[in-house]
């Protein structure tokens, strides 16, 4: 047990990213508020970033950092557009409960 | 071999006509019809030219045009004509002008589009008949389908949508399976020889292992069985015929049905001889059932067009029977029966068209006693009906007689040939029964329906449509020798290709020596195109295909079929006294 606690290895970081990802998925699934869903997506993205950087570190290769940069940029874009949509939806329907926004069904 | 420009021009003419038609303003219908008719007549003249330069004594492909089309895939725009396809090409170019003439007053709405569709259909048909490249054949096969869909779908009767969709779905199902088989053959040939090509003459040399042959043959056979139509796959035909306009059903019955059998002769049997040898009993059984079933059901019809549709099922059953006899009389009989069926059934449909233009009904009950009022029509209708019933002296008999004769003496190719042929010969009686039943219901008896009292006889246009047909029926019946002589060498070559590949017992993917252009011309087969960069990976189907070969022994019915050439007195030319 002791060396698991004190002996850091790639697995720790990957385990962390796995946990974070799982929490993000749970959030996206169970929360009704569109904002929280968006935040959970951010979480999932960051979990991905951690894993990328861990492997970059493992393989001594900086291209992982480049990729992480791209992920952050895309996340930013995604957040912007997501929030814009949420605002527009809110303005139209006065609420942002995801489970009542099923207009795209038809 | 000269005149390689001829076949492409034959193909291009209808398309040029279609383009010209597009320029014609919409309301100038008569002018448009004129343009279409002239184009089709010019095409007919060019096809006569093809016949003139066609040397009947030569077995190989003639007037071959071999242009490169898609080099990356090894697809060559290769057209050629031989004894088997020459008459079908001529039949097509012969029928189209007649049909356009007969549709002069029948088609009222969207005339221009109708004519364009028809000319494209003609180009598709000619292309498919002359294609010597599997890819070109498949493309033309689909090009044919689209205009036919429109002709039935737009200008058809009440339930035309249902009929046209059913028609397209049936044919599409078959052709897609065929496409898979084509690619399989293409890849297999590429892997064994490194040369990726769709060229039929080269592909003929390919011998696939037994299980692969079974699956590919079934794929091809389904596509062509639907087109023939063999017994269980025929239900699209009556609907398509009933709903199609007269000209549509004439071309559908006259030419399109022939692709089924042509496909068998050109593709299915030479490419997969073992499989066709193995499935021969079942296909012959279906054909004979088709003959009897088609005739019986035709007898129970109230709608004349449906009756004739089922008669086509019955007639083409004879062609299939003849084809599977695998000897010269049988196959020549089958091809001849196809051509004569093209003439007689087109005549029948045109006659029904004449009645439909006057009475706008197809129910037998509405007619009766027309002979008195329409003697000229009666004469034409009688000759065409008797031709279709196979009266000796008319074209129908020669085809049926040869097919039955070939099938009867093909003991090895078809087990129990005698019994099957006897049952098929009963089709001769049934044919007379339902055709004369129809003829009597329409022509004989007192005039019951008062609308028939003042029905007018055929006008000059309709007579000019019938005259060439009748001449064809009589000429083919009285003097069929030149037609049969032209087919002879090509048919014998087909039989020899079939037998050499059948005799080759190896159960692996390899080339059979002595087949393909090289064998005929004698020089080694140099690869016509350089292989593309890297051969596509092994299609997954292959591993699945090879697996069953190991466990399941090929489904021979107990006795392993004799390896020797199917003897029988009429097997090879000149062997009989």
């Amino acid at each position: 047990m002791s060396n698991v606690l004190w002996q850091l290895s790639t697995s720790h970081f990957l385990a962390l990213s796995a946990v974070l990802f799982t929490i993000g998925v749970a959030g996206a699934l169970f929360r009704r508020n569109a904002l929280i869903v968006l935040m959970s997506i951010e979480l999932m993205l960051n979990a991905g970033n951690i894993a990328i950087l861990t492997f970059a570190r493992l393989h001594h290769d900086q291209s992982g950092h480049g990729l992480a940069m791209m992920v952050i940029a895309v996340a930013a874009a995604e957040a912007a557009v997501g929030l814009a949509i949420v605002v527009a939806v809110f303005r139209a329907t006065r609420h942002v409960n995801v489970d009542r926004l099923t207009a795209l069904k038809h | 071999m000269g005149h390689s420009w001829l076949l492409p021009t034959l193909l291009a003419l209808p398309l040029v006509g279609a383009l010209l038609l597009m320029l014609v303003p919409r309301e100038e219908t008569t002018f448009a019809k004129g343009v279409a008719l002239v184009t089709s007549l010019v095409t007919f003249v060019v096809s006569l030219l093809v016949w003139k330069w066609f040397t009947p004594t030569e077995a190989g492909y003639q007037l071959v045009c071999n242009a490169s089309w898609i080099d990356a895939l090894g697809v060559r725009f290769k057209l050629g004509v031989d004894g088997i396809s020459i008459w079908l090409v001529l039949l097509t170019t012969f029928l189209v002008p007649l049909v356009l003439l007969s549709a002069w007053s029948a088609i009222q709405k969207k005339v221009k589009e109708f004519l364009i569709a028809f000319l494209i259909l003609e180009a598709g048909m000619l292309g498919a008949f002359t294609a010597l490249d599997l890819f070109v054949f498949y493309v033309m096969w689909e090009v044919m389908l689209v205009p036919m869909y429109f002709i039935i779908g737009v200008w058809g009767g009440e339930r035309r949508i249902y009929a046209s969709i059913k028609f397209v779905l049936f044919t599409m199902l078959g052709s897609l399976l065929m496409l898979v088989a084509i690619f399989y053959v293409y890849v297999k040939y590429g892997q064994t020889t490194g040369v990726y090509t769709f060229d039929l003459e080269l592909l003929y040399a390919l011998q696939l292992p037994r299980s692969a042959q079974y699956y590919c043959f079934l794929a091809f056979a389904l596509a062509f069985a639907i087109k023939v139509p063999l017994f269980p796959f025929h239900t699209w035909l009556p609907d398509a015929h009933v709903e199609a306009p007269t000209s549509g059903s004439v071309i559908l019955a006259g030419v399109l049905l022939k692709f089924g059998i042509y496909g068998f002769i050109r593709l299915a049997i030479p490419l997969f001889p073992h499989a066709s040898y193995q499935f021969a009993p079942y296909i012959v059984a279906l054909a004979v059932i088709g003959i009897v079933y088609g005739a019986l059901v035709a007898f129970a019809q109230q709608d004349v067009k449906k009756l004739i549709a089922y008669s086509s099922v019955s007639h083409l059953g004879f062609c299939m029977l003849g084809l599977y006899a695998m000897n010269a009389p049988g196959i020549e009989g089958s091809i001849f029966a196809m051509v004569s069926h093209g003439l007689t059934t087109s005549g029948l449909f045109l006659a029904i068209g004449v009645l439909y233009d006057r009475r706008h009904t197809r129910q037998l009950a509405d007619f009766g006693g027309l002979w008195a009022k329409m003697p000229v029509f009666a004469a034409c209708f009688l000759i065409v009906t008797l031709g279709s019933a196979g009266l000796p002296g008319l074209s129908g008999f020669v085809g049926e007689f040869l097919a039955l004769l070939g099938a009867f003496s093909a003991g090895d190719a078809i087990p129990g040939a005698g019994i099957w042929t006897a049952v098929a010969a009963s089709g001769v009686i049934l044919g007379a029964v339902y055709l004369l039943y129809m003829f009597q219901k329409v022509m004989f008896g007192p005039i019951t329906n008062d609308q028939n009292r003042h029905i007018t006889d055929m006008n000059a246009r309709e007579v000019t449509v019938f005259v060439p047909l009748l001449l064809g029926i009589f000429f083919l019946g009285i003097y069929p020798k030149p037609f049969l002589a032209a087919m002879e060498p090509a048919v014998l070559k087909f039989v020899s290709v079939y037998q050499t590949k059948l005799a080759d017992e190896a159960n692996t993917v390899h080339l059979v020596s002595g087949i393909g252009p090289a064998a005929a011309a004698g020089e080694p087969t140099e690869p016509p195109t350089e292989p593309p960069t890297e051969p596509p990976t092994e299609p997954p189907t292959d591993r699945a295909l090879r697996a069953p070969a190991e466990q399941a022994a090929p489904p021979t019915d107990g006795v392993l079929r004799g390896r020797g050439l199917p003897a029988g007195p009429s097997g090879q030319a000149g062997s009989a006294p």
Binding site: V25, A28, L29, V98, D99, L101, A103, L104, K105 | P232, T235, W236, Y293, L296, V297, F299, A300, N327, A328, P329, E332, G333, W371, P375, A379, L391, P392, G393, F397, F401, L402, L404, L405, G406, F408, S409, A422, A425, V428, I429, A432, V433, Q440, M443, F444, G445, P446, P480, K481, L484, M487, V491, L492, P569, S570, Q572, A573, G574, A576, P577
Partner: protein, 773 residues
């Protein structure tokens, strides 16, 4: 037409067929525009030209050849190769013509009687609205019949065969506006077609096994087969019966269809719906005799199968007697004659069946004359009685239409078989031939049984013919006043042919005199040209003692006279009291006979109705329900239902879509990471086995460590994906494979029991160069 002195093998016989064909073409195509007289002229002219050409061919060219053959020369025949009809593979059918004594007799009958009937028709059909069509069909018929007779091979005969069938269809249904007549025409054509089916099968069978379709070729190959006693003849296709049995049987079915023998005779009585000259020409003189001609022509084939000859004789005899019996109770003049034709045809078939080909053909020849005459006379009677055919309503015409009466009287004498007339000699020949018939495998009594049946039939024939005569001509007229008044003799064009035929009925008998006292039998001598080759083997005609011949002739004459007497007694002036009592006493029998033994109804019940039912059933059930609704629309329905199911899953809930995505991810992850290792073992010769491990293609594959344990002791025996290991002994061994994943360090293990080939023993002994397969 000058006699064309050309070589026997290139005589333009085809013109005999082409002339009437030309006449038919002209009449059918442009006849409607021509005047009635020109139509008559063309029709009769073309047949006359054919007659003259035939005469010149027979007398001019064939007769000298025949005379030469009498003194040992070659068989007399004229051949003409018009052109090659079908040439496909080894099958070669020429449109070739053969004129030999047999076909000479036939073409002369056809053209001569045909011409007389054409002349008669001009009178009979004087006020018919469609003369061009009628005469066109009549010419077409003559051409087809000539083609049938002159044909040199079976397929060419088949063309004529179906051609005459077509013409009879058109002519029977000539007055098509009456539904009944059209049905009769169709019935005739279909029954003929059934016969043609048999004929076709016969041709196919012969060609498939003998390889020839023309008579000469057939005769040669059959002789060769008989000579070589080939298995084909002893037991074809393992049936113990000879090939020629089957071929003969099928051909005989064709003959039955055409010549209206049991069971395919039902169409002939109905064929009386056509105009009377048509019945005379087609259903008396020519077409119906085609069957007899075919059997005679293929005599060499039938002689090789005595069983079929027996069947032919039996069928002929039964048809003769059954038809004669039915003839008793008929009240329609044409029906009586129709059944009489069926009966006389039965006679001919019985003769041919017994091997008496000459007698059969001779009777055919004479029958053509007096039966055609009878029909024409009946025509003129109907003409006189305003087209009514009910003989019960006739009577007393003796004085009113004298010429018709006189000729009818002669014909009745001829058909009854009274001495000087043709009927006696030809029928007597048949009776003699039957009496002495003795073919191989035949029981001795069979010939005499046939003779007995035929003799009784001869008596019946005399009876019903003279019953007809007395009812129509004797006693007072039973017609109503109006018809009686307008009874008048037919015009010259009609009575002329009657007289000529009457003369024929009288004189022709002397052509075939019986062989007693050195009387010359010209007919037999003439036909020996054709039958000579295989005639001798069969007919012991010559050595029938004069005594038996005379007694048989006496019996025949006696039966004829008895028949006439009985008819005179019963019907001398109309249906007398005796007849009434007889009808009452034999009421059930009478009803049966009057309704033709209910044969038509039987056929209708057994064949036609089930046929229609089957057709409707097949269409409704198999086509509509089974294939259409089940398969075609069924697939449509299946795709639609699955579509609707899928649509319900898309309900717009974003999180539900996310769940779907999630499941996908989970699936991929789990699939990518938990593949099981596999390996294949193949014998590498001897007890060594080659193991190839399959570690899959995932990211971890390339760094994977593969360890094998063959000895089951847990220690690693070998590493690497492709290993060859030789086992100490054959039998089953436990092999464990351990694979450690390159990326995730996951270790997977697979334990499998493999059997090393037991056959290893001798392989081990043999030098192990290892037959690796």
């Amino acid at each position: 037409m000058p006699t064309l002195a050309t070589s026997p093998t290139d005589w333009p016989l085809h013109w005999i067929v082409l002339l009437p064909l030309l006449g038919a073409a002209i009449n059918l195509l442009v006849g409607r525009k021509l005047a009635r007289r020109t139509v008559h002229l063309i029709a009769c002219g073309s047949v006359l030209a054919a007659l003259l050409l035939s005469l010149s061919a027979v007398v001019g060219s064939l007769y000298p050849l025949w005379k030469a053959s009498q003194t040992g020369g070659a068989a007399p025949e004229l051949r003409d190769l018009f052109y090659t009809w079908i040439q496909s593979g080894s099958l070669r059918v020429e449109m070739a013509f053969l004129l030999d004594p047999l076909s000479a007799v036939m073409i002369l009958t056809i053209t001569f009687v045909g011409f007389l009937i054409h002349v008669y028709s001009t009178g009979y059909m004087a006020h018919d609205p469609r003369p061009a069509a009628y005469f066109g069909y009549l010419n077409l018929f003559t051409a087809a019949m000539l083609l049938l007779v002159l044909g040199d091979s079976l397929p060419v005969m088949f063309i004529g065969w179906e051609g005459v069938g077509l013409c009879s269809y058109l002519l029977i249904g000539f007055w098509f506006d009456k539904e009944k007549y059209a049905n009769a025409g169709r019935k005739a054509f279909i029954v003929n077609r059934i016969g043609d089916f048999g004929f076709l099968l016969g041709i196919l069978l012969l060609y498939a096994n003998v390889g020839a379709v023309d008579y000469a070729g057939l005769e040669a190959s059959l002789a060769q087969l008989v000579g070589a006693n080939s298995p084909l003849l002893t037991s074809y296709a393992g049936t113990g019966l000879s090939l020629t049995f089957f071929a003969g049987l099928f051909l005989f079915v064709g003959a039955c269809g055409k010549s209206a023998q049991i069971p395919l005779y039902v169409w002939l009585p109905d064929a009386m719906a056509g105009p009377t000259p048509v019945s005379a020409l087609i259903h008396a003189a020519t077409m119906v005799t085609a069957g007899v001609y075919m059997v005679a022509r293929l005599g060499f084939l039938f002689l090789t199968t005595p069983e079929v000859m027996m069947i032919i004789a039996a069928v002929g005899a039964t048809t003769a007697i059954v038809a004669a019996v039915i003839g008793f109770a008929q009240t329609d003049i044409k029906k009586v004659l129709a059944y009489s034709t069926v009966s006389q045809l039965g006679f001919m078939f019985a003769a041919v069946g017994c091997g008496a080909f000459t007698a059969g053909v001779f009777h055919l020849f004479t029958h053509a004359f007096f039966k055609a005459g009878l029909f024409l006379a009946a025509g003129s009677v109907m003409h006189a009685m305003g087209d009514r055919t009910e003989i019960m309503g006739m009577g007393g015409l003796r004085k009113k239409i004298p010429i018709t009466h006189a000729t009818f009287f002669i014909y009745c004498l001829a058909i009854a078989g009274v001495v000087p007339f043709a009927g006696f000699f030809s029928k007597d020949e048949i009776l003699l031939g039957a009496y002495v018939a003795q073919l191989p495998y035949w029981p001795e009594w069979f010939g005499r049984a046939i003779w007995a049946v035929l003799a009784v039939t001869a008596l019946f024939t005399a009876f019903y013919m003279w019953r007809l005569y007395f009812l129509v001509f004797a006693g007072e007229s039973r017609a109503d006043e109006a018809t009686q008044r307008q009874i008048h003799e037919s015009p010259a064009t009609m009575t002329g042919p009657l007289v000529v035929l009457a003369i024929g009925a009288v004189l022709l008998g002397f052509l075939g005199l019986p062989h007693i006292g050195g009387l010359p039998n010209a007919f037999a001598a003439w036909l020996s040209g054709t039958f000579g080759a295989w005639q001798g083997t069969v007919l012991p005609e010559a050595h029938a003692s004069t005594g038996t011949t005379i007694t048989l002739m006496a019996i025949a004459l006696a039966s004829a006279l008895i028949g006439i007497g009985a008819a005179w007694a019963l019907y001398r002036n109309g249906p007398g009291a005796l007849v009434q009592r007889l009808v009452v006493v034999l009421a059930p029998l009478h009803r049966w006979v009057a309704n033709k033994f209910y044969v038509d109804e039987l056929y209708d019940l057994l064949i036609i109705r089930p046929f229609r039912l089957l057709a409707k059933l097949l269409f409704a059930v198999v086509d509509r329900v089974f294939i259409d609704t089940l398969f075609v629309n069924g697939t449509g329905w299946v795709t639609r239902t699955f579509g609707r199911l899928a649509r319900r899953a898309q309900n717009g809930d974003v999180q539900r879509y996310f769940v779907a995505m999630l499941l996908g991810v989970v699936g991929i992850v789990s699939f990518a990471t938990c593949g099981k290792p596999r390996f294949e073992a193949t014998t590498a010769g001897g007890t060594a086995m080659r193991f190839v491990a399959d570690v899959g293609a995932g990211p971890g594959a390339n760094g994977a460590k593969v360890e094998w344990d063959f000895t089951g002791d847990g220690k690693i025996d070998a590493t690497g994906a492709d290993v060859t290991w030789s086992f100490p002994a054959p039998g089953s061994h436990a092999v464990t494979l351990r694979v450690e994943d390159g990326l995730f360090r996951e270790v997977k293990q697979l334990k499998r029991v493999i059997t090393v080939a037991a056959v290893v023993l001798e392989a081990a002994a043999a030098p192990a160069e290892g037959a690796v397969n």
